[in-house]
Symmetry: C2
Subunit: 371 residues, 2 copies
Amino acid sequence: MENFRLDPWGHIYIEEYEKLFKYFGLSPTKDLLKRIESIGGKSRLYSRGIVFAHRDLDKFLDVIERGGKAALVTGFMPSGPFHFGHKMVADQIIYFQKMGARAFIAMADAEAYAVRRIPRKKILENAKIYVANLIALGVRPERATFYMQTNYEPAYYRLMQMASSKVTISELKAIYGDVEPGKIIAVFTQVADILHPMLDEFGRYEAVVVPVGPDQDPHIRLTRDIAERLRSDVPGLSKPASTYHKLMRGLDGGEKMSSSRPESYISLNEPIETAISKLMNAYTGGRATAEEQRRLGGIPEKCMVYELYLYHLADDDMLREIYEKCKGGKILCGEDKKIAAKLLREFLEEHQRKFNEIYKVVEDYISLPRY
Amino acid sequence: MENFRLDPWGHIYIEEYEKLFKYFGLSPTKDLLKRIESIGGKSRLYSRGIVFAHRDLDKFLDVIERGGKAALVTGFMPSGPFHFGHKMVADQIIYFQKMGARAFIAMADAEAYAVRRIPRKKILENAKIYVANLIALGVRPERATFYMQTNYEPAYYRLMQMASSKVTISELKAIYGDVEPGKIIAVFTQVADILHPMLDEFGRYEAVVVPVGPDQDPHIRLTRDIAERLRSDVPGLSKPASTYHKLMRGLDGGEKMSSSRPESYISLNEPIETAISKLMNAYTGGRATAEEQRRLGGIPEKCMVYELYLYHLADDDMLREIYEKCKGGKILCGEDKKIAAKLLREFLEEHQRKFNEIYKVVEDYISLPRY
């Protein structure tokens, strides 16, 4: 387990997801695939293993199946452009809504300010952009509660305050390394994000699921422990379920998309020509020469364009066709990128049209503080 | 400065208040006495040096004098009986209200739970008792905002979250020693307690004063620094003023009244006979024998009964008379205690009658959470 400390605030790409099953007791979603699809319908998220692991998702599905109140919780740090990595989370929100869950969607603005040091003005502007993107992608606002961490209900803050007494500073250090006060407040704010739908004040949801990247699992485990330790004092609390998705790598071949490297991501709001130009420059699984590629075939597993197809752009038939052509050396990267570019353009044109409409009225969906 | 770390959560009786002037830049209130009395009228708090030091009280008085909006902030930890130590704070609230200030009065229930580990039910019950006592003592509810730290407005919590980014863990350790998460949250909650009346959402008070014991000064200095560091992001913030009162010692001669030693305090809500019996057993400045006392005189400076007169029970004429008689050996402790007992009985009878009336409707004055 050495060198395997997961840091939710770091940017570590975890290649060996299998360790999660072994060390942390996660279960593979593939064992639940039929059950998931029978409730929510077919989804690339599960059939392609994008969401590959879970903890207690079966219990969450029990509640859904007997018509109980179920919620999903997620949060977005409104600190940079909304990109395809965020879209993957949006797809999960939409899927859980389809299953019947209500979505509680935090704009992690307290954390963006206190930990990431983003100016408040920028954060508030980003929050509007994020919410408008989510709705434009298909998140149904009537089944969602969008909120700012700095502008919510007293019971949410009470939970944060009470949770703080149930953890020692040593536990925090073991998970997060050195902890500054801003980070400590952010930790308990996130605990409240995850647990608050269970409170009477927010509808007393019986089951809560949190879709996260595996780097967030230590936080999930802490939150589950806190729920257990607080339950005698706070009516309604139980341990949340969680699901784990693969993290999209950077278009430039970097481990993860990052706002600090604009060439690593495509924002859903950037000019379409810029987006396409990033795609055309993306890191692929191509060989050194065209001759070699025709002879040996490409390596889609290494290819960022393929990742875009896999996570976002291609349906199953198309995905299979591209994969086979690439492997068989029947298509070269240049041609392939043109196909992806066409799909990307169509997607962005449609999305940006919807986004612009929703952005005009986005403050109907989220209550922003003045500063 | 060795051995002079003040700990706001500890129970240190500071005999050498003078160090505060020298090391921490406090000013004596006696230099402002005439100005204070010209605004608020005569008060034993100032004329007897009970409130003996301040920081920026002159600036606070400037705002009062030109008719600006001024607020006082204080908090009570609803973790034990409401005693005469609390009454001294109530007297200060009443005096600042008389000067024209609005009072913001926190029930520090988040801290009582997270740091002191008091059961929530007990805390909520105590909060009602505290508020009813304050009003019965003369705090005017129409000029006060009573609130629970766990049940307040979003802007208050936003301030707490934002403040957390302006302090390092090293700064916290230097002030509070080892800090557990519950204490860290409590620190920033208290920062929000002090600064929030300056926000637009709470009336944008121009000047805020915080009456504290000298053991709280490190927290005041931290809060002043945070106000400075946050002011570019939070409209309205400025450094709060503060006043410093002497801490009543325990009736039993202990350094401070403490809920853990019932004989050290008289609760304003306890049976009058119990209260009087505590008074009769109080530590005095009497001599070993009656003969010696008649010859040498008593030592009122050491006497807890005298402290009760000084802080609470006696007007100036009576105080002088008792003092002189005691010094001159003209009165022995037994007789003196009977005089004090009579005053105490009158006070408690009247207070408890008022308290009982107000307690019936106390939830009109404070909004309690359900848990």
